[in-house]
Structure formats: C-alpha cells, structure tokens
C-alpha cells in the first residue's frame, strides 16, 4: 500500500516536472484567416471638418470595417484561445495603449486581458472624446483636451467593445477584452501564431468586426504547432 502511494507520488512529480518543462516551449497554433466572396467597398473618410487632422492625410484614409490583404487575407481578426487557456485569471502587468492620432484610432483593434491597464493617448491638436460602447462592462466616455496626459482605464469582464469618438463620427475601433493573453491580431498576411500552449484540448475563436465569429477545437500534443485556418464569408452590403 505505501509503496503504491510512493510510486504514485513519484509519477506525479515526474509528470508535473515534465509539464513544467513542456510549458515555456510547448506547442502552439498558427494559421491564416482569409475570406471568400466580395467584401463591401471601404469608403474614403473626408475629415474636412477637422482641418488639423485632414492635413495629416493627403490621401484620405478609408473606413476599416473590412481590411483585406493580398490573396484574400483578412486583417484585424482577433484570434484567441477561448477555452482551456492556461493563464485565465492572471492579468499582465504592462499596459496596452490606444492612440488617437490624425483622428484615427491606432491600432484599430486593441486586444487586452480582463483588468489589464489600458492607456488612452491623445496625440492630436483637437479634443477627442473616446466612448467605448460597452454592453457588459461599464459604459463610459471621456474627453481629452489636446496636450493633456494619457489616462488609464480597465475592463473587468470579457467583451468585444465597439469604440467610437463622440466628437468625430468617423473614428471607430474595437477593444477586445479577453480572458487570456493567448491572442493575436492578423495583419496584412492574414497570419497568426498562438505559441506557448501546453499539450491539451483548446478552443480557438476568430472574431472579425463585420463577419462575426468562428470557432474550432484543437488538441495539442507535446510541442507540435497545429495549423488552423479560418475562412469568412464576405458580404457585399
């Protein structure tokens, strides 16, 4: 009896240390997000009512509801581990930043972990009033006269929050408040990588502001990197 317990204990320790070893250099998921069909045209934004911003864009920027790359890749897709993530309930110490510059939100999509500090910067010569249209989290808006220091906020529940500027109707973005820091946002290549995932079962979700969500399950064994692709249906209107 005692010997069996002793074996069990040694096995447990070995397994734990194996997992600990596997942690930092575990497996992961990577892939591409693309679309099929014809996406709606992105419209140029006329900022003439705010000359100090209009001057910064000799070629007007366009709306960013669907941003595509070559070979039908889809940008600004938040890909993240929606179930099984090993780090749920831990909050990163460093802050994420959103900058209001040229009357645009940079970046367009800001992912962050629940309760992680969000810094809001106004780099323009005009007043902005950032308004996250939260439905689950507390809804707030805050004016930032030019030249005033950045302010910090945080969100305590996971939610995809549309963000607008109360003063400049064309400014739009998203806060992706997630339970995990295992996330990525696709760029021009449409690619994403979610590294450092220990062996196990995971659910990965891809979220796009116009085309909705898609989910896939994946199991990682050892330190393999599984490939996961998402294809969204584009809509003309």
């Amino acid at each position: 009896m005692q010997t069996k317990l002793g074996y069990a204990a040694v096995l447990a320790v070995l397994a734990a240390s194996a997992m600990a070893f596997a942690g930092p250099s575990g497996g992961g998921v990577s892939g591409k997000v693309t679309y099929e069909g014809t996406p709606a045209k992105q419209k140029p934004i006329d900022m003439s009512k705010e000359p100090s911003c209009a001057q910064q864009h000799p070629t007007p920027i366009t709306t960013e509801t669907v941003v595509v790359g070559p070979a039908n890749t889809l940008q600004n897709v938040v890909v993240y581990v929606s179930a099984g993530a090993p780090d749920e309930a831990s909050t990163p110490a460093q802050a994420v930043t959103i900058t209001q510059k040229g009357c645009q939100y940079l970046p367009h999509v800001v992912p962050m972990v629940v309760n992680q500090e969000l810094k809001v910067v106004n780099a323009d010569q005009t007043s902005h009033n950032i308004h996250p249209l939260a439905k689950v989290n507390r809804e707030w808006n805050k004016s930032q006269p030019p030249g005033t220091p950045p302010f910090s906020e945080k969100f305590d529940k996971p939610e995809f929050i549309a963000v607008k500027c109360n003063v400049h109707p064309w400014m739009h973005g998203t806060f992706a408040v997630l339970k995990t820091s295992h996330y990525a946002v696709t760029g021009e290549t449409g690619g994403f990588t979610l590294p450092n995932l220990p062996p196990g079962k995971y659910t990965v979700t891809a979220w796009h502001e116009s085309y909705g969500e898609q989910t896939q399950d994946v199991t990682i064994a050892g330190s393999e990197t599984k490939t996961l692709n998402f294809v969204f249906k584009a809509k003309l209107y």
């Binding site: 140029p44 509801t65 607008k164 109360n166 003309l236």
Partner: protein, 267 residues
C-alpha cells in the same frame, strides 16, 4: 461726481458707437440673392437704434450734469409738456419706427421663408447629427433613396441609413462630408436631424435654420459668388457643438460637376 458721471456716460456712448461706425466687426459680404434685403433692414435698424441709443444716453448725461448736486435752495422745475408730451412723442416716433421696421421687414423674411423653391431648384439633403453635417446628392437617377435610421452605421460610413442591397434608388446616392453647390443655381436644401436639435448657419449666405428632430425642414437659396464658406451649428447639441461644422464650396458649374463625379467614385 454727477458731472464726472455725465461725462463718463457720453464717453462710453461714443466709444460704443465707434466700432459700429467704422465697421470694425461685421458680417462678411453677402453672397446670396436674398441677403441684400436683410442687410438693408440691418442698416436701417442700426441707424434708428444708434440714434436712439446716442440720444438717450446724451440727454441722460446732460440732465445729470445740469441737475446733480444743485443744493437745497435750487428750484424744482418740470419739463414742458409733462408726461403726456413724452407719451405722444414715444407713440409717434417709436410707433412709426416699429411699424416701418416691421412692415418693411416682412419682405426680407418672406423672401426666405414664405416663398416656395422654384421647380428647377437643385435638391441637396443635409443631415445634422452629433457632431457633423453630412450631405446627400440624389445621383444620376435624380431620386433620393429611402432613409432607414435603424441602418445607420458610422463605422461603415452608412451615415444616412441607406439600404443599397434592397433599394435601387439609393445605390447611386452620393454622400459627402462637404457641401458643394454650383454658383447662381437655386438650391433646395432638405434638412433633417439624426438625433437632437442642430442648426444650419452660413453667414455669407444669410441663412440660418434649425433642424427639428421629427420634422423635415427645408430652405432655398442661391449663392452668387464662388468661394469656400463655413457652415456652423448654432443650436446647442452636446459636448461637440463647438466643433460641428462643414465647408460649403460654391463652384463654377464645371467644377461642381467634376467634384460630384469625384465624390460619386468614392461611394
């Protein structure tokens, strides 16, 4: 001190009149067909108001100068004509003045508000919403597509709530953030508010009109001079009220057509 007060009143009265007489701060030149009536009304009123203002202040000052601190022995006098004379003077002078201003002012008002736009006025729609003006031109089909407020989406710049998927009339509508009009062409401005009260004010055009949520309001005007003018919101609409403006470009017919084509390509 009475005499010093009297002099002060006169100095202030004259100092107040100087910027008016010197036209230091005044409305910019009129670029509309109807504005001259308003400007004439303004000049007449300024003359009458100015004369009344100066006369009242100066007479007040003179009497203060003459009759202050005269001493207990000075004789009390009554102005000849008494109250009745003044009542009659007021009724006649002021009455005539207000009648004149009122009656002559009717035409200036009626030209803007009590006349219908002519049949070939060019329709332009303007929507006011916190905190920008957006404009819509009907496009080659000459028809405005229907508005669906529930479809308004600022992120995709579907600012008027159009439904191009199901509504063919809206597919060629041209939505812009600046307003352009051809010079010397009558414009029929169709106004509606998206959310709260706003107002449309262009000083050079001599037009100001509130947007009334729930009502479709319209205005008509003709711009007579090419130029770039500012449209500003004059009805308190929220925190961004101070920053709610759009540019109005009055262009030659050729330039206007070019502009419209360029905007159409960006829809």
């Amino acid at each position: 001190m009475g005499k010093i007060f009297a002099v002060t009143i006169i100095v202030i009265a004259i100092a107040s009149a100087i910027p008016v007489v010197m036209h230091t701060w005044e409305a910019p030149a009129d670029v509309s067909t109807h504005g001259h009536l308003i400007d004439e009304q303004m000049s007449e009123t300024m003359l009458e108001a100015g004369v009344s203002f100066l006369a009242a202040q100066i007479i007040l000052a003179i009497f203060i100068w003459q009759f202050s601190n005269r001493g207990a022995e000075a004789k009390i006098k009554t102005f000849p004509g008494g109250a009745m004379g003044l009542v009659i003077a007021a009724l006649v002078l002021v009455g005539a003045e207000v009648l004149a201003l009122g009656v002559f002012g009717v035409k200036a008002w009626a030209d803007v508000y009590l006349t219908a736009p002519s049949a070939n006025a060019m329709p332009v729609q303007v929507q006011a919403g916190q905190f920008a003006f957006y404009f819509r031109y009907p496009g080659p089909d000459g028809k405005f597509g229907a508005l669906h407020p529930e479809l308004i989406n600022e992120a995709t710049q579907n600012l008027f709530g159009l439904d191009p998927e199901h509504d063919p009339d809206s597919r060629d509508d041209i939505v812009t953030a600046e307003m352009a009009v051809p010079v010397n062409k009558e414009i029929h401005l169709l106004m509606h508010a998206k959310d709260v009260g706003h107002s449309f004010f262009v000083r050079e055009l001599r037009v100001q009109q509130d947007f009334v949520p729930g009502l479709d309001v319209s205005l008509h005007f003709t711009a007579t001079k090419v130029g770039r003018y500012e449209i500003v919101c004059t009805q308190l609409c929220g925190l961004g009220h101070y920053n709610m403006k759009a540019y109005l470009d009055v262009l030659s017919e050729q330039d206007f057509n070019d502009w419209l084509k360029k905007e159409a390509a960006m829809q």
